[in-house]
């Protein structure tokens, strides 16, 4: 839930990157962190295991600029993708304003993608959110791999409603900013509606 601070003229929104294990959620944040102007970003925090798997979350605060005299700040979070970290995933979805689903394009991960979307829908519902109503975009990551499924196939499985979706190669940054801009835009549009 966005936080409007009239006192400091700031608006804070929370974006969560969701998706199956090893799909590239943390890589998205790392790319954004490495390529964002020093004064527009805060410190990136990664609560990860020794093998660099996300244990609890990654966190990256970003400032996008001003709208009507209000500084817009976005807090980017990732969830741990591995199936058994479900309790942690639920916690991170609290107060979310928009979700980016990062899908792993590899054919072998088809089932993991589908399961993760279902898990997202269930966990959001537990917090009182409807995936079909909140700002939501999809990113098909790892498009450069030879075993990537076709775009049509992925769309058919993961995006029946035709929400904004993007192809990406996160380590190279392809599609990373497009995805971020799309979700930020949807969140601001939602705020405009005053809901």
């Amino acid at each position: 839930m966005s936080f409007i601070n009239y006192s400091s003229r700031e608006i804070n929104c929370k974006i969560v990157y969701y998706g199956p294990g090893l799909c590239g959620k943390t890589t998205n944040l790392q790319y954004i962190y490495a390529n964002t102007n020093q004064n527009a970003k805060g410190k990136m925090i990664s609560l990860a295991t020794e093998t660099e798997r996300t244990l609890f979350f990654d966190f990256l605060p970003l400032s996008l600029g001003e709208i009507r005299g209000f500084k817009t700040r976005f807090h980017l979070y990732t969830v741990p993708g591995q199936v058994f970290y479900d309790a942690s995933r639920k916690l991170i979805l609290k107060g979310v304003d928009g979700v980016v689903f990062v899908a792993d394009s590899q054919v072998e991960r088809t089932e993991a993608n589908v399961e993760s979307v279902e898990n997202l829908r269930t966990n959001l519902a537990e917090q009182g959110y409807d995936l079909d109503k909140i700002p939501y975009v999809i990113q098909y990551n790892k498009r450069d791999l030879p075993n990537a499924a076709s775009l049509e196939e992925l769309r058919g499985l993961l995006n029946p409603r035709g929400i904004p979706d993007f192809e990406a190669v996160a380590p190279k940054g392809e599609g990373v900013y497009d995805t971020l801009k799309a979700i930020a835009r949807l969140i601001l549009t939602e705020l405009k509606k005053g809901t």
Partner: protein, 159 residues
């Protein structure tokens, strides 16, 4: 779902005043308030060398995780957490189930004193947040973003 969090100047001043007094009376180094989603609401004390945004996010994560633990053993939540360090200590408490009050203190204070002062400040903060919530729910207290245009949003991404 939680209600929209809004902060106005009037309440911000009141909250800051309570936090300042708490810092003084508890001999604390730093006092800050965070909402449960990890957004910083106010901070008082020697915060200039401190990454308060990260602190806020991790504090909320900490409360969320211990809240999860509490539920597993049949508790509603753990409303007070205490972390003891070699030099500095952290006292974290949940106020009215919605905001988190963090007090950082060293040997110039004590856990007992901090707990005592936090209790008093919590009641006052709770009242302020009650009032704030009512204010937000009044119809017409609309979002300042109701009038933004698509162009405004486009301009954010123009660089």
């Amino acid at each position: 779902m939680q209600p929209q969090m809004v902060m106005y100047d009037e309440e911000f001043q009141q909250i800051s005043a309570v936090c300042e007094r708490l810092a003084r009376e508890a001999n604390a180094k730093i006092v800050f308030l965070v909402d449960k989603n990890g957004q910083l609401i106010a901070s008082i004390g020697a915060t200039q060398d401190l990454d308060t945004t990260s602190l806020a996010s991790l504090t909320a994560g900490n409360i969320a995780a211990t809240g999860g633990l509490a539920k597993l053993i049949g508790e509603k939540e753990f409303s007070i957490l205490f972390h003891e360090g070699e030099r500095d200590n952290l006292h974290i408490s949940v106020i009215g189930g919605r905001v988190i009050l963090v007090v950082i203190f060293d040997t110039r204070s004590s856990l007992g004193l901090v707990r005592l002062r936090v209790k008093k400040a919590s009641d006052e903060l709770n009242k302020i947040f009650d009032g704030l919530l009512k204010k937000v729910q009044v119809p017409g207290a609309g979002s300042p973003f109701a009038e933004i245009t698509d162009d405004d949003i486009d301009n954010l991404f123009s660089e």
